[in-house]
């Protein structure tokens, strides 16, 4: 019994002051780390969404630019961009329109007549086409991308700002001329 008492008496440990000081300091250091990593997480999420938006936009831009270089702009208002092949005078012409299938989040290219539809890009939530107010003959297109995010509850729409301009080479009869 005596030996046990002596053992208990000789046990050393932290004092309450030491523990309080230690815990306070560790809390401060850990708090700084956690808040910094939270900032990193937000920034990384924003970059991921923007990168996704740019990647989708590049795919969509390629098709739109290819058509806009050749055809004249019939309509560039809101969610639809309509281009028309110039007629050579003795044959029918056709139109190429770009619109968004919001249910499937796809950018659709439709050729009329014939209603031939192809998917130009996936993950497009919206498109806004307009004539550039600063320069005639230029169409401005802004795509809103459905960013996938980290999960079903993380999905959101990201605008690919500032959008892209494309100069329509054929100005005859163009609404943007």
């Amino acid at each position: 019994m005596k030996a046990l008492r002596r053992l208990l008496h000789e046990q050393s440990g932290f004092t309450a002051v030491e523990m309080i000081v230690t815990m306070a300091l560790v809390t401060v250091v850990t708090g700084g780390m956690v808040s910094t990593f939270a900032i990193f997480d937000r920034v990384q999420t924003a970059w991921r969404d923007r990168n996704q938006a740019r990647a989708v936009s590049v795919v969509a831009e390629e098709a739109i630019v290819r058509d806009a270089r050749v055809y004249r702009v019939v309509s560039a208002s809101g969610a639809t961009l309509v281009l028309q092949a110039p007629s050579d005078g003795d044959g029918p012409t056709f139109t190429v329109s770009y619109s968004v299938n919001q249910a499937g989040q796809e950018l659709i290219r439709t050729v009329q007549p014939g209603n031939s539809q192809t998917v130009v890009a996936h993950g497009v939530a919206n498109m806004t086409a307009s004539c550039n107010t600063g320069q005639k003959g230029v169409v401005h297109v802004l795509l809103s991308i459905a960013a996938v995010g980290a999960g079903p509850n993380d999905a959101k729409t990201v605008d690919d700002v500032p959008g892209f301009d494309v100069a329509s080479r054929n100005q005859t009869g163009s609404v943007c001329a």
Binding site: T15, E18, V21, V29, G32, F40, W47, Q135, G137, P162
Partner: protein, 110 residues
Amino acid sequence: MGLVEVLVSVALLAVAVSALLGTSGTILVGANTAERRTVEQRLARNQLEQLEAGGACSNGSAPTGQPIDGTKYAISWDCPATSNSHYTEYRVTVTDPSGSYSLSAGKWVP
């Protein structure tokens, strides 16, 4: 182990964490700069499209528009002399507080 040892170890931990976070901060700054260069490239391309759609080239600048992700970009352009009178070259420079980006394009004018 006494209070002095605890203080010393926490101080060492803080130094190590500070170095780690400092490195991460550098990564953030670098990535932000890369993001700005990307936006500048897009703005420069858009301006080139507008210049090419226009007529004769003349030096100019665009009014600073709405900020993009909190950054305002200044756009200016000039027309470097070319050896061919039918060839017009456009050079667009987009500038923000962290740097600038230039793109050039040319157009054959019959």
